[in-house]
Amino acid sequence: MKEFALIFRLNDVADFKPSPEQMQERMNWLAGVAAQNKLVDKGNTLLPIPGSAKTVKPDNVVTDGPYTEIKEFISGYIVIKADTIDEAVEIAKGNPIFQVGGNIEIREVLKRD
């Protein structure tokens, strides 16, 4: 089995704070992946709010947040296992993030070892 990182992106910081119903849907989806025994790492949420997000650039340029140039921002990630990337895509399709216009990038993990 291969491992794939699912990287979640949102368009609007306002979507970042989910309603209880959205939270429940996310949790149902995540647990559904775990119930198939395909969750490798339940990952983490990456805070996009001021004070929690900065970007360092060449020449010691530090900017607030990840979202000065691109509107989209990464909101979190998880790692799953699947036989093929197509299977990983199928799993990702069930995520409720699409209801708020977010997207999921899927990347096969090449382990450093």
Binding site: Q24, M27, N28, L30, A31, A34, A35, N37, L39
Partner: protein, 417 residues
């Protein structure tokens, strides 16, 4: 001096209660490597009691009598052993046992030894089923035959399993001294895992004998209680596990009918639930709430707690939420299926079908039992197929009977329409 109570009824009871404690204290004295000596001394003591009490009657304080006798037997053994070591073998190293300090059978010392013994036996070098057998034998005083009954296994198999497991323990050099914080930290998880399995062995036992199952469950509770009695092991996790055991035990009577068939949760006679055990579960669950760590035992105790409450608006959403968290920390096929059942309770049977289908557990009888349940209304013919497959796949006779009953009900309903 003479007690009117017959020694025949008193001795088995005392044996169960005191044998394991006595062995623990003696093991600590002789060292884990000489576990057999400790067990011989303890067995000899009980043998002597049965002979002596038959003739002289039961002494006023039988427990004290037993410990005095054990002390003497141990001293005799050490003396004989010292002679052997010095006179016959002429070892250069002075025998440790020569000093032969008196064996301490005080309450505190017994409690400490028992706790240390639990930690020694719940050793991850042994496979789970060996650990459970070993725990039943050494910590609970079960005979090989009783263990074989509980597991529905041949005596020979249990014997072999125990022999291998004991050899592993002897090789481990675990010190039966008062437990250090480091020893506790490194092994508490393994201890809890064994006690959890021990309890489940009783609760979900293959045997239909309710007496045996109750005994195994109550032994697991007793050993977990020992952990709560020591400051160092009285952790939130231990309390959570104990809460779980109390909640589950409260339903033990209601889970099986007089024919030994498992009764589905919805159909259990709630009047048979033991309210006092539910209350104790609540007590330990509150104790478990100190600290920030949420263990699988917390989650399972939470689920068991909600099961004790009447069905209301929030019951199943809470249970589903807890199963969602549980599956993230501890995957098992059974948890995945139970979670899907909770999902059906919240979102309806049809919505749950895809959740179950993608689980890839078609080789499990419980998968088909759940599919049968979910399909019963929308597609009875398919449901029948699933129930039939579930019956084929299960090895448990009581489960077969329960499934056949469901199947019969379904067929009767189909015939009516």
């Amino acid at each position: 001096m003479i007690n009117t109570k017959s020694h025949n009824e008193l001795l088995p009871h005392l044996f169960r209660q005191e044998y394991a404690k006595m062995t623990a204290v003696l093991c600590r004295h002789f060292g884990l490597r000489h576990m057999e000596v400790a067990e011989d001394v303890a067995s000899d003591t009980f043998l002597k009691a049965s002979e002596s009490w038959a003739v002289n009657g039961v002494p006023e304080n039988p427990t004290a009598w037993l410990y005095t006798a054990a002390k003497n037997k141990a001293r005799d053994y050490l003396r004989r052993n010292a002679i052997f070591e010095t006179k016959i073998r002429e070892t250069l190293r002075p025998s440790e046992s020569e000093a032969g300090p008196d064996i301490d059978f005080s309450r505190q010392y017994i409690a400490d030894s028992q706790l240390a013994m639990i930690f020694a036996v719940c050793n991850p070098v042994n496979a789970p089923e060996s650990q459970i057998s070993l725990a039943l034998q050494i910590l609970c005083g079960f005979s090989v035959e009783e263990i074989a009954n509980a597991f529905l296994t041949k005596k020979e198999t249990v014997k072999k399993r125990l022999m291998r497991a004991r050899a592993n323990l002897r090789g481990d050099h675990f010190q039966l001294a008062p437990l250090s914080e480091a020893a506790i930290r490194s092994r508490l998880d393994a201890v809890l895992a064994t006690l959890y399995l021990l309890f489940n062995e009783g609760y979900f036992s293959k045997t239909n004998d309710l007496v045996v199952r109750k005994e195994v469950c109550s032994e697991a509770v007793r050993l977990t209680l020992v952990l709560t009695e020591n400051e160092l092991t009285d952790t939130p996790q231990v309390n959570a596990l104990l809460a779980l055991m109390c909640y589950q035990s409260s339903r033990l009577e209601a889970r099986v009918n007089d024919k030994g068939e498992a009764i589905l949760f919805d159909e259990q006679d709630k009047g048979l639930w033991d309210e006092s055990l539910v209350a104790r579960g609540n007590y330990y669950l509150v104790n478990a709430c100190g600290g920030n760590a949420v263990s699988r035992y917390h989650l399972e105790a939470g689920i068991a707690y909600w099961h004790t409450t009447p069905t209301g608006e929030n019951k199943w959403p809470h249970i589903l939420q807890l199963y969602n968290q549980l599956i993230l920390v501890a995957y098992s096929p059974v948890t995945a299926l139970n979670r899907a059942f909770a999902y059906a309770k919240v979102y309806g049977c049809e919505a749950a079908l895809p959740e179950v289908e993608k689980l890839d557990l078609a080789h499990h009888s419980q998968y088909h039992a759940l599919m049968g349940y979910l399909l019963a209304t929308v597609a009875p013919a398919k449901a029948v197929c699933h129930y039939e497959q579930a019956i084929r796949l299960t090895n448990s006779q009581s489960e077969k009977r329960t499934l056949k009953r469901e199947l019969g009900r379904l067929k009767a309903k189909a015939a009516q329409t």
